[in-house]
């Protein structure tokens, strides 16, 4: 150690990460990830402005901004604050939650397929919601409660079954695929037994939708996201080390099992919150981290993936509303198109690189 001490004034090590230091504090960040994230935020804000302006009562971006700052009449305020803004915020926040949970699950399973829908949690939430809606006949909040219960119950079951001397990524995916198939047949059974009217209202829980999103939805998903911000930021570094293997991570002082459990818990809460708010919106959790990984270089990371998730969902919702107006198209359908195409491309790329 003495040789190390004498060389204390060596030059800064070459790094691609930049540091932000203030007094004794310092934070490492990657300039490329920050640039890409900033670009995503700007594009998302641009689409948000468009989305607030278009509709049966069109408004120019200037008019939208004026209304937001309280300089327009009641009609405009009603359109913006009561109709369009809650829907936009719901889309953005659900996207954040899905993107972040996707990044967490992909990191924990060390597999780009390790997203909540592949692992069965989304389907579990759907099954729970459908069951509750059929039992309680679409009473207010029953679908939401069912989604939360179903999501967590499925997650607990999948973790339990995948746990053999520690939870292993690939087993999580295999068990999740089995759980998805089981739950799928359960949902079909429930819908077959249900009255047509009930089945109709349960159907919204099978394809995610932002139709009729109001401030109550914003509160639920907003609270979920805000509560998770600090845990997510605090666990990022440990997550990165876990990707290099359990033994190495533990050798570096990461408490492997508690850290992985905490990651799974954060990911499950974010995913369940998103499904309870807007239903099972497909593929955002799968695609957002992978798209962002290609933009930022390096491995998946939570915050950029969350921002990309928000962008995907805002754009998809705009498409759902504007490309097929008057159809009340659920946002889950454009995300399925985008995500499905993307997944096919990803699999093609990986089979070419013979990684799969």
């Amino acid at each position: 150690m003495s040789a190390v001490k004498t060389a204390r004034r060596a030059q800064a090590a070459p790094h691609t990460a930049a540091r932000l230091a203030w007094r004794g504090w310092s934070v490492l960040w990657s300039p490329r990830a920050v640039l890409a994230s900033a670009a995503v935020v700007l594009v998302a804000l641009g689409f948000a402005l468009v989305q607030l302006g278009v509709g049966d009562y069109p408004m120019s971006p200037g008019e939208v901004l004026a209304t937001l700052t309280g300089n327009r009449g009641e009609a405009q305020e009603f359109v913006i604050f009561d109709l369009r803004l809650p829907r936009l915020l719901t889309a953005g926040l659900v996207g954040l939650a899905l993107g972040a949970s996707g990044a967490i699950f992909q990191s924990v399973t060390r597999n780009p397929l390790g997203s909540p829908e592949i692992m069965g949690f989304t389907m579990g939430a759907s099954a729970g919601a459908v069951a509750m809606v059929l039992v309680f006949g679409g009473q207010e909040g029953s679908g939401m409660a069912g989604a939360l219960i179903g999501g967590f119950a499925t997650a607990a079951t999948v973790y339990g079954l995948a746990n053999r001397r520690g939870i292993q990524g690939f087993r999580l995916i295999l068990v999740g695929v089995a759980a998805t198939a089981l739950l799928d047949s359960l949902i079909s059974y429930l819908l077959l037994r249900a009255r047509l009217q009930d089945a109709e209202s349960a159907y919204t829980w099978l394809v995610g939708s932002l139709n009729g999103a109001d401030w109550q939805q914003v509160q639920i998903i907003g609270l979920t996201v805000i509560v998770m911000i600090v845990p997510v930021l605090a666990i990022g570094n440990q997550m990165r080390l876990l990707e290099m293997g359990d033994d190495l991570a533990q050798g570096l002082g990461v408490r492997v099992k508690p850290t992985r459990l905490r990651l799974l818990l954060i990911g499950t809460v974010l995913c369940a919150g998103a499904v309870a708010t807007a239903g099972p919106i497909a593929f955002v959790a799968l695609a957002a981290p992978q798209i962002m990984r290609r933009l930022t270089g390096g491995s998946v990371s939570i915050v950029p993936a969350a921002l990309m998730g928000a962008l995907i969902l805002i754009v998809s919702d705009l498409a759902a509303q504007r490309v097929w107006p008057d159809s009340q198209m659920p946002v889950g359908i454009p995300t399925l198109c985008i995500g499905g195409t993307y997944l096919a491309w990803l699999l093609y790329q990986q089979s070419r690189a013979s990684r799969l």
Partner: protein
Amino acid sequence: MKIENPPAADALPGNRLRAHNLSLRYGERVVAENLSIDIPDGSLTMIVGPNACGKSTLLRALARLLPPERGSVVLDGEDIAKYPSKEVARRLGLLPQTSIAPDGITVADLVARGRFPHQKFLRQWSADDDVAVTNALERTNTGDLATRYVDELSGGQRQRVWLAMALAQETPLLLLDEPTTYLDITHQVEVLDLCAELQESGERTIVVVLHELNLAARYATHLIAMRDGSVVAGGSPKEIVTPELIEKVYQLPCSIIDDPETGTPLVIPAARNRTGARCT
């Protein structure tokens, strides 16, 4: 020659890393019973033995990756299980056999990850970290690779980079699990030369699990031979490596000559005759 119960014979009080009466198992499979071991401070200790003799398992137990069923690993006089994880990681570094380099990471960034146990949530980088990373890159001759991507490196270069990461951790104790696997002879020698340099500079105690018996005998200052989960012999290679020991540990008839380069024992397996039996 110390064959019977050697750990007691060279157990010096006060060595930083010791293990007492370990019982190790994976699920139902018992790997070792009543295993005791003592790592001399400042040594380059190498652990050898046939496949599945429990040497890697022992290393995992020493690094607290595998909690023993009975017995304890003692680090600086205290049961290792009682330390906080990061404190262990500041005293004892481990390079596992297989680690996964994240996609698209540069050498410098990978090596910098070795600094994790010295960092905090809001103190993620300091001048000490810079020095440690620069030194680690220098020691392992990977300074000119610093800005390259780990995916692009050859096997030998990659192993040096992993070693650099372990060095950046700046632990007085360093455990390496078969650091030469998959490397050709040149790179094996390179890695072991580095271990010897580190040990000679007096900065670190190094424990290596090694498959290559002859290289272990050449480089080790302290050699431990294991079979079936117990230590058969421990001591300097010159003292303990005899045809009897090799026969006992590997069930391989052999003769021992002096390594013409270093004078350390060199194991020459007995030739096979035409009937398939070995000449002894």
